[in-house]
């Protein structure tokens, strides 16, 4: 196995394990670098040559750490223009419009990971803004019934309100992530996280939903808003 958290590997003692120094979410290290990924895999598979175990080895690459640190100076990739509608909803829709060309570029070059909710990005915005409105209870109840959307996929129709909400949040985050990752020299994960949660209207909206949905009668919706939308370090 590959190990991203050494203390977990130490506790599990799997037959063969290669601890890697990469960020959570990147067990093979470098996206788009086939040679590097093969190096990681080859190092892991070489552990099978040992005649007994458990074997725990380290994939040391000081250059990787330096490469990550060097990206920390990455600046905000998008200067969102002032909009006529300066409400949070207006600014959010303007952000999505500004990122759309890069998102479409990402779709042309990579398979998109958005759309797990079965909703379009416009429907995602409608759903999340509805839940952030002054009457989130009424909106979530509407979602549980026929819902505000006439045209949704079978995937979406089969989801509970709580799961539809969670996946809509992930679709929004993934839209921003894919758009930025499609730009030249995409930032490090830490920089991207800092930008999304600290500088975008989308990040502010998702953080506001934790409070907006704190008393919602739908338990799964409430728990997702509390635990699975915003990174733990921002709680």
């Amino acid at each position: 196995m590959l190990g991203l958290v050494p203390q977990h590997v130490h506790a599990m003692q799997p037959p063969r394990a290669l601890n890697v120094p990469f960020e959570l979410g990147r067990p093979l290290g470098k996206p788009g670098d086939a040679n590097y990924q093969r190096r990681v895999l080859s190092a892991a598979l070489a552990l099978l040559d040992a005649q007994s175990g458990p074997v725990v080895a380290e994939f040391d690459d000081p250059d990787y750490q330096l490469a990550s640190a060097a990206e920390e100076g990455w600046a905000c990739p998008v200067s969102f223009a002032q909009t006529q509608d300066d409400s949070p909803a207006g600014r959010l829709r303007a952000e999505v419009d500004a990122l759309a060309p890069w998102f479409h570029r990402a779709q042309e070059t990579n398979a998109t990971a958005t759309g797990t909710s079965g909703l379009s990005i416009d429907q995602v915005l409608t759903l999340l803004l509805g839940l952030a409105s002054a009457e989130p209870w009424a909106f979530s109840a509407e979602l549980a019934e026929e819902g505000p959307f006439e045209d949704v996929s079978d995937v979406c129709r089969a989801l509970s309100v709580g799961d539809r909400f969670k996946l809509a949040c992930e679709d929004l985050k993934m839209f921003y992530t894919e758009a930025i990752a499609a730009q030249p020299k995409p930032p490090s994960p830490a920089s991207l996280q800092g930008w999304f949660w600290g500088q975008t209207e989308a990040g502010a909206l998702l953080q506001s939903l934790k409070t907006a949905l704190a008393d919602n009668p739908d338990k799964l919706l409430r728990n997702h808003a509390r635990f699975t939308i915003v990174p733990a370090e921002l709680h």
Partner: protein, 145 residues
């Protein structure tokens, strides 16, 4: 709860005693399958939710539509959006098979969602072991996220 506290709690979980002499297969002739904990599935499959203890099947011949529905928000997804191989290295395994470094790559690969209590996943894991044995898989590469 902070990520460090979650990690500390997981590290303190009781684990089965390790086997000191596990059966292993030399990589050169082995058929390899990947088991990920990234909450991956094909678009249109039921996504994972809270407490999801089952798994999804990833078809190597149709891996371009793989999406992620892990409930955790505490790991990077930007690498995955750029290159599926950074999470599920199927193309890399194909290349290693082409070079003779491994025997072959299974058509079938699997994903759990690592946020669930491992004890709850045990029944599905047991069933999956049977499936992989019937598929004559020699080596399972576990890839966390």
């Amino acid at each position: 709860m902070r990520a460090e506290e979650v990690a500390k709690g997981l590290a303190a979980m009781e684990c089965p005693p390790p086997q000191t002499h596990p059966w292993v297969e030399p990589a050169q002739g082995a058929k390899v399958a990947v088991v990920s904990t990234a909450g991956l599935c094909h678009r249109g499959d039921p996504p994972f939710s809270f407490g999801g203890a089952d798994y999804r099947v990833i078809d190597r011949q149709d891996a371009r539509d793989v999406v992620m529905s892990h409930i955790s928000t505490n790991f990077d997804r930007s690498g995955f959006t750029q290159d599926l191989n950074v999470v599920l290295p199927l193309e890399r395994l194909d290349e290693l098979a082409g070079q003779g470094a491994i025997g072959s790559v299974s058509r079938w690969h699997y994903s759990f969602m690592g946020a669930t209590d491992p004890a709850q996943m045990a029944p599905a894991v047991g069933a999956l072991v049977d499936v992989m044995m019937r598929d004559e898989v020699d080596v399972v590469l576990l890839v966390p996220v």
